[in-house]
Symmetry: C2
Subunit: 363 residues, 2 copies
């Protein structure tokens, strides 16, 4: 059932498993203790950063399936995308799994895009079990979108730091866990920003547009959520969003934050904060889902934004449009009033998952 | 409802409108008389080939909506993707429409990917009306994936010609027209092909995999279809597919063909045939849908394939994986036994559509 841009899920698909993997810098950031696996170095034993990114995605997918305590053969479909040209990290990761694949591109909004489509497919009884995944890598994004790392280019204060990390979750029509109750599908919005070092400003109008649509369609207000979280608007972009929303008569309070803004500590010197598909994906699949599982969060509005830019478009004088998809996550009925034992994978189990990934890579 | 990789649609979403636009060379090809609009030159009045590609997509979307005799405000969602880095043609086209957007990447399989997801969303009652679209441009693809046009590089006999064209269709939960009755979601398959000038060989194994899954899941055989059509395997790739299927005990007969192989006339000198997202998209949204509307085709298995390659992956010594999604299209009950008046847009109406596109571009 839908109202305008928002689908209200009748059967409320369940997140039965999740996994997050990050680089060493990210592991030292504010969410460090929540991630399932922190890589020792950001090459992850591979010969190129791109191959490392592919391996991160594979690790996240295998990890989420193990966390869900199901077999890979129980999975019907993988929905994934990333920032690289022709989403190679996702496509090449998909090659090592024996289930169907839908490739997506929503830039840094991909985690929500994959979950919105995945939840729709489950809610409509098209499939029973799907995996949603995305990730990014600082070094692959820098060289593709900006400058060679070797140039040691200076970064303006509005610039953000692409997170090296990947996240994945398993959605199912049965089981216990946080549920996806609604999804608001976003429009492409362009306010004419042209600075590739100011992604927050380019994406904030899309976040506003989707947020207004969400509140309108669902008749909710910011107070109905324990947490409203954007993906990677960063410090500047999230301030712009707060201003834009205030102009529309909606005040975002202490329950609003941005994954990119929260990601790194101040002394990690990432200027306007974290960005990239991996930013919101790793925060969702660690910190947020953990707190939904224990019932600390009852209802979360997760709305990552994507800047739909490309170097070709920029070189041809184009502005940067943005898009934002929103999903509502609610804790399981069983933890609505009480605390439960945390079911997230403990770090000690990760060795086994990595071995499984290594094994798959040999195929 | 699904069986393994295949979803059987209970409510059989209807294709209520479609539109195809192509370049001048394509207009002189075998499907020339069937296209809705043939551009006079492949810059389409724009300053770059990329901008021309964006405009083609917009034209196709506007055209399909007009053909469906609905208003743009009736559309809930656009599902689109293309070959360009960060699918800019689709994202920038989406900017000019006031409905939600889901960006996809399935390389040349995108037409089926968008229709498989779109039909699922309608069948599951998530949305009522969606537009599916994709396109490609010879000159943008050549310079992104291969060599600058100015180099005048020689083309090996296995190479294919990227179609300049875009197609779009409107899917709805009500109305009269061809129906989408099933969709088989494909896996990523890699047989180790490394030659970027031999896409047919790289994609044929994915076509085989999805075709076998489709026949297994739906208990159909090639004889159950008036037409089984792949997207852009080309002359060589479709021969490989016939051989691969024969090895599996399934004989593809005269009802099997490939859009890329059929696209150009022999004297157009495109070597192994047409390719690109626009190849299968323009054939589907002209020739095939026209023949389904009149009842000349009762049941078509449409299965375009995508080569998930990127220049970065190729430079790092990677092979080229392929993917193939299949959808089954059936003619409307009302034309199962009789001929009806053709409802495709006549060429004379196209001027109006182009004016609408021009108007939208001014925004």
């Amino acid at each position: 059932m839908y109202t305008n841009q928002t689908v209200i899920f009748k059967h409320k698909p369940v997140i039965i498993g999740s996994f997050s993997i990050v680089g060493p810098k990210e592991g030292k950031g504010n969410f460090g203790p929540y991630f399932n696996y922190v890589m020792k170095d950001d090459c992850f034993g591979e010969k190129s950063y791109e191959k490392a990114e592919m391996k991160m995605l594979k690790t996240a997918i295998v990890g989420a399936i193990e966390d869900a305590k199901i077999k890979a053969s129980d999975v019907n479909l993988l929905l994934a995308g990333d920032l690289l040209n022709q989403i190679i990290s996702s496509s090449y990761a998909a090659r090592d799994f024996d289930f169907a694949f839908l490739g997506l591109f929503g830039a840094c909004s991909t985690m929500a895009e994959s979950m919105a489509i995945g939840a729709s497919l489950i809610d409509g009884h098209e499939f029973d079990t799907v995996v949603c995944s995305t990730g990014s890598h600082f070094s692959t994004a820098e060289r593709q979108f900006r400058f060679p790392l070797e140039l040691g280019n200076q970064r303006p204060p509005t610039s953000q730091w692409t997170v090296t990390g990947a996240g994945a979750c398993v959605l199912s029509n049965k089981g216990v866990g946080p549920r996806i109750t609604m999804a608001t599908f976003g429009k492409v919005i362009d306010y004419g920003i042209m600075d590739v070092n100011d992604m927050g400003a380019a994406m904030a109008p899309a976040a506003m547009n989707t947020m207004l649509a969400h509140f309108r369609d669902t008749k909710t207000t910011p107070d109905d959520y324990d947490l409203i979280v954007t993906g990677d608007l960063g410090k500047l972009g999230s301030e712009i969003l707060i201003d834009l929303m205030e102009d529309q008569g909606i005040k975002l309070g202490l329950n609003y934050n941005d994954c990119g803004q929260m990601y790194f500590t101040r002394n990690q010197n990432t200027l306007s904060g974290g960005s990239g598909c991996g930013c919101s994906a790793t925060v969702l699949n660690s910190y947020i889902i953990k707190k939904l599982r224990t019932g600390e969060y009852k209802r979360v509005l997760f709305m990552p934004t994507g800047a739909l830019m490309s170097t070709t478009a920029t070189q041809q004088g184009e502005t940067i449009p943005g898009v934002c998809h929103a999903i509502v996550l609610e804790c399981d009925e069983s933890v609505k009033d009480k605390k439960v034992k945390d079911v997230t994978l403990s770090r000690s189990k990760n060795k086994k998952i990595l071995e499984t990934v290594e094994e798959n890579s040999q195929k």
